[in-house]
Amino acid sequence: MKRFAPAVLALALSLPGAALAAGDAAHPEQRSWSWDGLFGTYDREQLRRGLEIFTLQCVNCHGLKYIRFRNLTEIGLGADEAQAIAGQYEVAGDPDEWGDPTVKPAELHHPFPDPYRNEAEARALNNGGLPPDLSLMAKARADGSNYIAALLSDPGYNEGDPDESGLYRNPYFPGGWTAMAPPLWDDMLGDGATVEQEAEDIAAFLTWAAEPRMEDRKSLGLKVVLFLLALTGLLYVCKRKIWAKVDH
C-alpha cells in the first residue's frame, strides 16, 4: 500500500501536462512577472503603461469587450480619468425622435467597443485577417503572458518586411506568419521605453484583463490553505489520539 498512493497520484498529475505539450510554434522565453508566485500582485504602474499603449495602438484594430471602463479604476485610475478615456469612444444611443439610430460617448459601465462594425469590415481593412478580441488572449494561448511579450518583441518580426501577400514572419505566431504589422516602436509613449519593455507592459495589461480577480484569488487562497493546514493538523492529532485506543 505504501507504494500505491504515490504511484497512482503521479499518474493522475502527469497527464494534464502531457495534454498541453502540443503545438508547432516557437516556445516563448520565460520572463519573470510581478504576479509570479504565491504573493505576486500586478504592478499598477506597469498596467497603466500597458493601458496607454493599448489605447494608443492596439485599440485601433482589437476589441477588449470584457473590460468595462469602470474596471480601469481597479488599476489605479480615478473615476474621472476612466470617464475621460470612456468619452473618447462612441456607443449606440437611444433612437432619436424620428426613430433613427444615434451615437453617444461611452460611459463607465460600457465595455471597450469593438473597432469594427462587423467581421466583414474587420477582414476588409486587415488584409483578410481578423484581429481577435484581446480580453482573454493571455489565457487563450499556452503560456499566454510570455507568448504575448515574445510575439510583440521578436527582433526579426519588428525589423522584417512583409511578404508579397502582406504577411509578416513571426516565429511565435501559430503558422509562422501574421497579418499584423509590428505595432510597437521605441519610445512610443515618450518615456524612453524600448520595444522589449513595451511588449512586457502590454502583456502585463492583457494578463490583468484576462484574469482581473487574480489578486483576490491568491489572497483568499493563502487564508484558506493556512486554515486547512491548521485544521488538518488538528484532525491528524485527534485521529492519532482516538486510534491510540485500538490495536490496528
Binding site: L11, A18, P132, A140, K218, D247
Partner: protein, 420 residues
Amino acid sequence: MEGFLNNGLVRWFDSRLPVFSYVNEHLVVYPAPRNLNYAWNFGSLAGLALMIQIATGIVLAMHYTPHVDTAFDSVEHIMRDVNYGWYFRYMHANGASFFFIVVYLHVFRGLYYGSYKAPREVLWWIGLAILLAMMGTAFMGYVLPWGQMSFWAATVITKLFGAIPWVGESVVNWLWGGEGIDNPTLNRFYALHFLLPFAIVGLVVLHLWALHHKKSNNPLGIDYKGPQDFIPFHPYYTIKDAFGAGVFLIVFSIFLFYAPNYMGHPDNYIPADPLKTPPHIVPEWYFLPFYAILRAVPGKLDGVIVMGLSIGILFLLPWLDTSRVRSATFRPVFRWFYWILVLDIVVLGFCGANPPEGAWIDIGRAATAYYFVHFLILLPLIGWFERPLPLPDSIAKPVLSGGPAPAAAIARDKARGERR
C-alpha cells in the same frame, strides 16, 4: 448517541420515521473492519467531491445562460462581475478533475485489493455505473462554456454515434436536435448536465446500500470471523475520513487558488467557432486513456466498440479474475501485473494527449492490445497458475498479536513464514 436516542422527543419521532436510528446504524455503530488503510479514504472523498460539484454547480446555474450567443459571455460575467464567481467557477472546473482523481484512485484501490470479487459484484457494477454517469456529466459540462474545445469535443464525441450501422446519422441528428451542433444541443446538454448529478446521487445511495449489506472489503481481503474483526465506524473512521478530507481540500485548494487553469486547455478561452477546427482536439485529461483506445483502432465503428468494451469488460471482472484470493498482498504474481496495468493506462493517457502521428500510433495500439490482454488472458491465467501466499486466520489475529505495526505488513511477514 445512545443518550440522544433515549431522549423522549427523539424516540417519539424515531418511532414514526426512524432517521435517527438509521444514522446510528449506518454512520455511528456501523461495524467496519479494523484494518482499513488510507486507500479506503477515497470513497468518502468521492462523496465530498460530488457534493462540492452539486453545490458550486447550482450557484453557477443561477448566473449561466445556456444559449450559443451568450454562454461564453455569461461564463466571463461569472468570472468578473458575480461576487466570488471566479471562486465558484474555478472550484467547479477543478472539482471535476479532482472528482475523477479520487474516483480513479478508488477504482484502482478496488482493483488492487480485489474488492470486485464475491460477494461484492453488484457493488462493483453500481460503481462502474457511477463512473459512466460521471463521464457523461463531465462531457456535457465541458460543452457548456461554449469555447473552442467545448464545441469540437462535442463534435468528435457526438459524431461517434454516427458509426452505428443504418441509423447512425439519424441518431446523431436526434442527439444534436438538428442538422448540426447548435443551440438545441447546448440546451439539452445543459438540462442533462443539471439532471445527471442527481442520478449519480441515487446511484451512490445504491452503492452504499450494497456496501453496507455486504460490508467493506479490507487490505487482507479475508472474510470476517467475528466481532473482534470490527470497530465502530464512529469515531474511528469518521475522524480518519475527516483527516483525509482535510488533506484532499489542501491539495484541491492549491490548484483552485494557485493553478486554476493548469488542468484546462487554453483553447477553451476562445469562443466556439464552427468554421475553425483547432489543430489538436484533445479531451480533458480524465478521458485521455479512452481517447487513445478509440484512436488506436482503425475504422470508426470498431474504435467505438473497442472503447466501449474497455469499460464493458470491467463488468465481467469478478469472473475474469479466477483467483479466490482478493488482496494483492497475498498474490505475488498478480501484484506485478497490477502495476504493469497501471503503467499501461498511464502510457495510454500520453498516447491520448499526443497527436496520432509516428511512434504514438504504434505505442497506442500496443498499449490498447495489452489492456485487453491483461483482462481477458493474463488475469484468468494468473488466477489458475499463481500460488497465493498463506492467508492470515482472521483480521483481528494478526492485528491483536502484532502490536502497533501495520496489519498488512505483519500479515505479509507472517505469510512469508517468519512466525515468531
